[in-house]
């Protein structure tokens, strides 16, 4: 559904120093998305996610490279691309003072479908997306979750086979997010749609996507399934909080014996010290560790074993945490 080669976009930066500089927002990315896939585009703010998305949706001209979306060239066949895709941007799609039903009908009609058809499609989508009874409601009187679902309905009114979602759950409460995830997976299950979504939430990419592209500084640094990406991180994170900070070095020594990485000191809490390291197969190593700690009389406040998260993957790939600046 999507094939991009060397897709790049540079902006004329207007720096504070007044000198013009070229800012590479996206520095040549290759993207392949097959029909029926749900692909997540993961990266911190400013990594180039939205810029890439805007190029793929014909909103922005690439400065280099090429892309075909739904079988059409974004540069020369933008009309056909627009007809085939749905785009749900992060900034919304409706006027706060308009009525939801009228917005979706007008939107559908701009795709060339008749007013009657647009109403039928709109009402269908409202029902599917749990927006029953909100046809006459103004978007400003809707909850954040309802507004996002309205945006999704707007993006689906012309029955696209490929849907782009830009940060679909940003700013929603956990319950609304989980609810929206169900609706997003349903897009594929019930409509057979291919989905390309950007996010900087790891749990979201983990929960929804078959495959994840990780972008950083305008370059794709990894592309794989969430599980395969997590396997790249060596081992689980074992974190010990020692009751007596004086015993922290001794605990670190014992942890080092089973660890793949050098144990590092974490932030020391009140009267406690944290030691952590990555341990391959922590499940059966930890029992021995606890026995050894006990034998040396080291008392623990707590012990925690964490499976690698996509945040760890990102840290491994880029040396930075995804949460920085997010």
């Amino acid at each position: 559904m999507i094939h991009a080669r060397g897709l790049a976009r540079t902006f004329d930066g207007r720096g504070r120093g007044k000198q013009k500089e070229q800012v590479k927002a996206v520095a040549g990315v290759d993207i392949d998305v097959a029909e029926g896939e749900i692909v997540g585009f993961l990266g911190p703010n400013g990594a180039g996610k939205t810029t890439t998305l805007r190029m793929l949706t014909t909103l922005l001209k690439p400065t280099a490279g090429s892309a075909t979306v739904a079988g059409y060239d974004v540069a020369t066949q933008s009309q056909q691309v627009r007809r085939s895709i749905g785009y749900v941007s992060q900034s919304g799609s409706t006027s706060p003072e308009a009525r939801a039903g009228e917005e979706i009908m007008d939107h559908g009609m701009l795709y060339g479908i008749s007013q009657k058809q647009a109403e039928t499609r709109g009402r269908e989508l409202f029902e599917q997306l749990d927006l029953d009874g909100l046809w006459e409601r103004q978007p400003r009187a809707m909850s954040g979750g309802q507004r996002r679902r309205l945006d999704i309905a707007m993006g689906l009114v012309h029955d696209p086979t490929l849907v782009f979602l830009d940060e679909p759950t940003t700013g929603l409460d956990p319950q609304a997010r989980a609810n929206l995830w169900t609706h997003i997976s349903d897009l594929r299950v019930k409509r057979g749609a291919t989905i390309f979504l950007t996010t900087h939430y790891l749990d979201e990419a983990d929960a929804l996507c078959d495959r994840i592209l990780v972008i950083d500084h305008g370059v794709i640094v990894a592309s794989d399934t969430p599980d395969a990406l997590k396997r790249q991180v060596s081992g689980d994170l074992v974190e010990l909080v020692v009751a007596d900070p004086a015993q922290a070095p001794a605990a670190a020594r014992l942890l080092a014996a089973i660890a793949d990485s050098e144990p590092a000191d974490g932030a020391a809490g009140a009267g406690a010290a944290t030691v952590r390291a990555r341990v391959r197969g922590a499940g059966h190593e930890v029992a021995g560790l606890i026995r050894a700690l006990d034998a040396e009389g080291i008392a623990l406040e707590s012990i925690e074993v964490r499976r690698p998260t996509l945040d760890d993957v990102f840290l491994t790939l880029t040396g930075r945490s995804l949460r920085e600046g997010a």
């Binding site: 627009r82 941007s89 006027s95 308009a98 009609m109 701009l110 060339g112 945006d151 707007m154």
Partner: protein, 250 residues
């Protein structure tokens, strides 16, 4: 296809405007205030300004003012729409970019037309006399000028995307234009240097032409220049507006 898209955008804009009629009403009240509160001041001066009827002199200026100001501020609405994501959502549809702009301009033009009608109608109560045909043509010129300003304003809005940038720009354009076009008083009563400066203001020719038309003088040099300038501004406004709406996409 193009006209259908234009109509869809126009209908949506009109619906939103009518649902929040505060702006429509404010737009209507302003020229009425001028007519009621400023018009009487001109009545005793009309003779010395070279006019027989103060309102034949004054109403054309008010029309142009309506066209300029009402339309120049049209872009503010577009910024709000852009912020709500509406512009982007419309731009991912296959609809013509020109239709997206034209539908919005048509709403401003319709509003301007109604305001102009109310203004002229009310002016009759105050004693306006003149050529009805000329007034109709004058209203057409006003509407074309308004369309040009609305297009330019929308282009500016889409370029700056910020009310804070746009407000000072518009004000710094609108005030000199207002003062140098002879909208409130004809420039001919001013000193030589002021007249020379005002010669560079296209809207002065438009105001003068509408005054001629109101007086029933259709085929004069003044009228011709006004029509030429109106058409030129109309074409330029639409060109700039369309170009901006087409920009930033493949």
């Amino acid at each position: 296809m193009f006209w259908r898209e234009t109509y869809i955008v126009f209908r949506r804009q009109l619906r939103l405007a009518l649902r929040n009629p505060a702006w429509v009403i404010i737009g209507l009240v302003q020229p009425i205030l001028y007519l009621v509160l400023f018009g009487p001041l001109l009545e005793p001066l009309a003779g010395s300004l070279g006019a027989q009827n103060a309102y034949t002199l004054f109403v054309p200026g008010l029309l142009v003012q309506l066209g300029l100001f009402g339309a120049l501020f049209a872009g503010f609405g577009l910024i709000a729409e852009w912020r709500a994501g509406v512009i982007e959502a419309e731009r991912v549809t296959p609809a013509s970019r020109t239709a997206l702009l034209l539908g919005r301009i048509l709403r401003d033009v319709l509003q301007l037309f109604v305001q102009g009608l109310v203004l002229i109608g009310l002016a009759f109560l105050f004693g306006l006399t003149g050529s009805i045909g000329g007034m109709a043509l004058g209203l057409v010129l006003t509407v074309l000028l308004g369309a040009a300003c609305a297009a330019a304003s929308n282009a500016l809005a889409l370029t700056t995307k910020s009310e804070d940038v746009m407000a000072p720009v518009i004000n710094s354009i609108a005030l000199p234009v207002l003062l140098l076009s002879g909208i409130l008083l004809p420039m001919t009563i001013g000193p030589q240097w002021l007249q020379v400066v005002s010669d560079f203001m296209p809207t002065k020719y438009i105001v003068n032409a509408i005054r001629e038309l109101f007086a029933g003088n259709f085929f004069t040099i003044t009228t011709m220049w006004g029509v030429i300038w109106t058409l030129a501004l109309f074409a330029a406004g639409l060109y700039v507006g369309t170009r901006t709406f087409r920009k930033e996409n493949a």
